[in-house]
C-alpha cells in the first residue's frame, strides 16, 4: 500500500491530531486543569483553521486517494475552512456553558463528540464513493444525538435526543435503500461510475432511487416534508449544540448534497430531479416562513427560520452551475455568521437569566443595548436587508439560480423573493420587541462573559464586512470555476 496518499488528507489528519490532543488532555491531566480544556480546544481549532487557510492559498491541487474513494480540491478545502470558522465561533461561544457547574464531569466528552462529528462532515464532503460517504454521514449524525442529550438534568433534552436519533436512523435507512436501487442499476458505488452508467436512463427505478436519496438527505437538511424533528430538537438541545446543529451540520450536508446531485445524478438533472427539488424548495421556504411567524420560543423561532434558510441554500443546488456553487458556499459562510450571532445572544441571555421566550426580549434595548444591537444586526442579515452580508448572499444565490434561464426557475425565484418579504415581518418582530415594546419585568442589565463577547464580536465583524469586502466572493467564484467540468 502506498502510504503517501494519506498526505492528501491533510485537513482530516490535522483534525484527528486536534481530537487526540483534546482527548489526551482530558484523560491525563488532573481534574482542576479541566477548566482550561474549552480554551485549549478553541485555540487548537483556531490553529487548524489558520493552517487550513494557508493550504488554501498555497494552492492545493486536485488529488484523489484510496483508489478514487477520496478526493480533495480547492473547493473542498475552502468549504472545510468555512466550517472550521463556524466551529471556532461555536467553541468560543460555548466556553462559559462548558465551564458551568453541571458540566464538570462531562466537559471533555462534549469536545470529543463535536470533533468527531466534524470529522464525519469532512469525509462526507470529500467522499467519492458511497461507502465512505455513508460512514461520514453516520459519524456526523450519531454523536450529535448524544450531544443533543447532553443536559442530563433537563427532560426536554432527552426528548429531543430520542426524536433526533429515531428520525436520523429512519432517514439513513431511506437513503441506503435508495443507494441499493442505484447499485442495482449501475453495479458500482463510485460517484463517477454511477454518473456515467445512468446517462440517458429514464426508468421508474431510477426515479424511485433518486426520490429516496433526496428524501434521506432532506431529513438531514430539514427540507419541508421531512422537517418535523427540527423545531423540537432545536428547542430541547443545549443552546451550544443547537447552534452547531443549525449551521455547521446543515452547511456540510448542503454541500455534500450538491456534490451528490451534480456528480452522481447530474446527467438526469432535467427530466428526473429538477422538478422534485422545485417542489421541495417552494414548500420549504413557504412553510418554514409561515410557521416561524407564530413561534413564541426564540429557539423554535430560529429553527423555522433555519428551515426556510435551507430552502434558499438549495437554490444553489438547483442552479447546477459554477455560480450557484460559489453563491452557495458564500451563503453558508454568511449564514454561519448571522445565525451564530443570533444564537450567541440567545445563549448569553439564557446563561445569565435562563429565559428564552420572545416576550422576555421586550424592552431589552433599555437594559442591554449592545446585545440588542447584535441581535438586530443578525436579524437584518438573516432577512437580507442591505448593506449587511445577508443581502449579498441572497442576491448572489438568486442570480446563480436565474442563470438557468427556464420559466420554472423564474417562477421559483419569484416565490423565493416574495417569501423574503414575508420573512422580513417575523425577523422585525424580534427587533420590535427589543426596541419598541415596553414591559414590566425586563431582563435586568448583565455583563456577559468575556468569551461570549469575543464570539459575538467575530460574528458581527462577519455580518458587516463579508458583504462589503467583495474579494471573498470573487475568490470563491475563482476556485469553483474549474469544477464546471465535473457537472456531466
Amino acid at each position: 500500500m502506498d502510504y503517501s496518499q494519506f498526505l492528501a488528507m491533510k485537513q482530516e489528519i490535522g483534525l484527528l491530531i486536534v481530537f487526540l490532543l483534546v482527548f489526551l488532555y482530558d484523560t491525563f491531566l488532573p481534574q482542576r486543569a479541566g477548566k482550561g480544556l474549552p480554551i485549549v480546544a478553541s485555540l487548537l481549532m483556531l490553529v487548524l483553521t489558520v493552517a487550513g487557510f494557508f493550504t488554501c492559498f498555497l494552492g492545493s491541487p486536485d488529488v484523489t486517494a484510496f483508489a478514487g474513494m477520496y478526493a480533495t480540491s480547492p473547493v473542498m478545502t475552502a468549504i472545510k475552512n468555512i466550517l472550521n470558522i463556524g466551529v471556532v465561533i461555536v467553541l468560543i461561544q460555548s466556553i462559559k456553558w462548558a465551564n458551568g457547574e453541571l458540566m464538570i464531569m462531562r466537559r471533555g466528552e462534549f469536545y470529543e463528540l463535536l470533533l468527531v462529528t466534524l470529522f464525519g462532515m469532512y469525509l462526507m464532503i470529500s467522499a467519492r464513493h458511497f461507502l465512505l460517504f455513508i460512514i461520514g454521514l453516520e459519524s456526523a449524525s450519531l454523536p450529535l444525538a448524544a450531544m443533543v442529550a447532553f443536559d442530563k438534568n433537563r427532560y426536554e433534552s432527552h426528548e429531543a435526543a430520542v426524536k433526533y436519533i429515531l428520525t436520523a436512523v429512519f432517514s439513513s435507512a431511506v437513503f441506503m435503500m435508495g443507494l441499493s436501487f442505484v447499485y442495482a442499476l449501475s453495479g458500482s458505488l463510485y460517484f463517477n461510475t454511477i454518473g456515467y452508467a445512468i446517462i440517458g436512463q429514464h426508468s421508474t427505478m431510477l426515479c424511485i432511487a433518486i426520490a429516496f436519496v433526496i428524501a434521506g438527505m432532506g431529513f438531514k437538511l430539514s427540507l419541508v416534508p421531512f422537517h418535523l424533528w427540527t423545531a423540537d430538537v432545536y428547542q430541547g438541545a443545549p443552546t451550544s449544540v443547537t447552534s452547531y446543529l443549525s449551521v455547521i451540520s446543515k452547511g456540510a450536508a448542503a454541500f455534500a448534497f450538491l456534490v451528490i446531485m451534480a456528480q452522481v445524478f447530474g446527467a438526469v438533472y432535467e427530466h428526473i430531479w429538477s422538478w422534485m427539488l422545485y417542489v421541495l424548495i417552494i414548500l420549504t421556504i413557504t412553510i418554514g416562513n409561515l410557521f416561524a411567524i407564530r413561534q413564541k420560543n426564540m429557539k423554535r423561532f430560529l429553527a423555522f427560520s433555519s428551515i426556510s434558510q435551507a430552502g434558499y441554500i438549495m437554490l444553489g443546488v438547483i442552479a447546477d452551475n459554477t455560480m450557484g456553487t460559489a453563491a452557495m458556499m458564500y451563503y453558508i459562510l454568511v449564514y454561519i455568521c448571522s445565525n451564530l450571532a443570533a444564537f450567541g445572544v440567545i445563549g448569553a441571555i439564557e446563561n445569565a437569566t435562563g429565559r428564552v421566550s420572545m416576550e422576555d426580549y421586550n424592552g431589552l434595548y433599555k437594559t442591554n443595548p449592545r446585545l440588542s444591537v447584535v441581535m438586530m444586526l443578525a436579524m437584518f442579515s438573516l432577512a437580507g436587508i442591505p448593506p449587511f452580508a445577508g443581502f449579498f448572499s441572497k442576491f448572489f444565490i438568486f442570480t446563480g439560480a436565474l442563470a438557468v434561464g427556464t420559466v420554472a426557475i423564474y417562477f421559483l425565484v419569484g416565490i423565493a423573493l416574495i417569501n423574503t418579504i414575508v420573512s422580513l415581518y417575523y425577523y422585525l418582530l424580534v427587533v420590535k420587541a427589543m426596541f419598541i415594546s415596553n414591559e414590566e419585568c425586563v431582563i435586568p442589565t448583565f455583563r456577559s462573559a468575556c468569551s461570549e463577547r469575543l464570539g459575538l464580536w467575530i460574528t458581527v465583524a462577519g455580518i458587516v464586512f463579508l458583504g462589503l469586502v467583495s474579494p471573498i466572493y470573487n475568490w470563491l467564484l475563482e476556485i469553483t470555476a474549474p469544477i464546471a467540468s465535473l457537472f456531466v
Binding site: I134, A145, M176, L179
Partner: protein
C-alpha cells in the same frame, strides 16, 4: 420488508417497537445489497462490503438509541411515544 419497517415506524406506540421497525428497514437494505451483488454483479464484492459496513453502523445506531431510551425511562417510567409531548407549537 422495508415497507413493513416503515409501517411499524409510523404506527407503533412503543419506542422499542419503533427501534425494531428501524432495524427491519436497515436489514432490508442489507439484504437488497447482498442480493443485487450476488445475482446482478457476481464479479466483484462491492455490495457485500457495503452490507458489512451497514450492519456495523446499524449496531452503533441501536446502541445509542437504546441508551437514550433508557435515560427517558429513568425519568418517566415508560417508553411510550405519547409521553414525548412536552414541546409543542
Amino acid at each position: 420488508m422495508f415497507c413493513c419497517g416503515v409501517y411499524g415506524f409510523i404506527t407503533r406506540k412503543n419506542m422499542i417497537a419503533i427501534l425494531i421497525s428501524l432495524e427491519l428497514m436497515l436489514n432490508a437494505v442489507d439484504i437488497n445489497f447482498a442480493l443485487f451483488n450476488r445475482y446482478l454483479y457476481p464479479g466483484h464484492m462491492e455490495g457485500m462490503f457495503f452490507t458489512l459496513f451497514a450492519i456495523a453502523i446499524a449496531a452503533a445506531e441501536t446502541a445509542l438509541a437504546i441508551a437514550i431510551i433508557i435515560n427517558i425511562f429513568r425519568v418517566t417510567r415508560n417508553v411510550d411515544v405519547q409521553g414525548l409531548d412536552k414541546m409543542k407549537l
